[in-house]
């Protein structure tokens, strides 16, 4: 049983039902903390390895050693994040689950960026014109065609240039959001907010053209 901690937040966590205790030593000093950090790193390695090997199909060119290097980097970066954000843990899940998500995120981002490292991201928003060639087929009705035209018109006229670029890259070109964030010098959250705003403008434009089902 760890010694009582004078940090009131840590004491509260220790009292919460179902809270693992080892992670409380991450707030400690010396050998106790070192052991806890090693334990944490082991957990993060497990999650990072799980994620990298789950996605290894997107990195066929990498050797097992290179994949393992990705795993190690992801676990190391996740450890830094976890230790920096220890105060965010509120016991709403197990500490292991909470920590896992940091490693899964780091690993997923690294895999996506590595997979796209040598791929050009064509940041030419005019590529949305490819929608023009995805028009209704013989079995589609006139309403589908009209909706598609309304969407094309909305992309052309209702969005800012940046919104158009983000929407086209993420939705039409399938660029992973972390890859686009890196290329644009931005971050995932900012890009998603831009995508959200672009979608809202597009829905409003399409609804104003008489397609209320766009808001369903």
């Amino acid at each position: 049983m760890p010694a009582a901690d004078t940090n009131p937040d840590v004491s509260a966590l220790a009292a919460a039902p179902g809270v693992e205790e080892w992670h409380l030593d991450l707030h400690a000093q010396g050998a106790r903390r070192d052991e806890a950090v090693a334990h944490l790193h082991g957990i993060l390695l497990r999650a990072a390895r799980f994620e990298v090997f789950r996605r290894r199909g997107s990195l066929p060119q990498l050797s097992a050693a290179e994949l393992d290097e990705l795993v190690q980097d992801a676990a190391d970066d996740a450890a830094v994040s976890v230790l920096r954000r220890l105060g965010d843990f509120r016991g709403e899940s197990s500490f292991r689950t909470w920590a896992y998500k940091f490693a899964l995120l780091e690993a997923a981002v690294k895999v996506r960026r590595r997979a796209w490292r040598d791929r050009e991201v064509t940041l030419e928003p005019e590529h949305w014109e490819s929608l023009a060639h995805a028009g209704p087929g013989p079995d589609d009705d006139a309403e589908s065609g009209a909706l598609l035209e309304a969407v094309r018109d909305g992309i052309r006229t209702a969005l800012t240039p940046r919104q158009r670029l983000v929407l086209v890259a993420l939705v039409l070109e399938g660029v992973p959001i972390d890859v686009l964030a890196e290329r644009l010098g931005s971050n995932r959250n900012a890009l998603y907010k831009m995508l959200h705003d672009a979608r809202r403008r597009l829905r409003a434009h399409v609804a104003a053209a008489g397609f209320q089902e766009a808001n369903e």
Partner: protein
Amino acid sequence: MTGRDLDPTLLRLLGSDEPELDCDECFTQLDRYVELELAGAPADAFVPGLRAHLVGCPACAEEHESLRALLELDSVA
């Protein structure tokens, strides 16, 4: 034509007007949400807006799937 009948690409372009979390908020709540799901609890009621975000954000959806799969693996091991 209803929203459900829309082409998948159009659905991804238009998104939904359901309230949703952003990526940072989704990450913050993801561990709690997945544990609730695996416990058979009404996760969407406890964490409103997260499911709608997973529909709109493929990256967060992948990470949700991964966390869920890892915890399921842990429960078997």
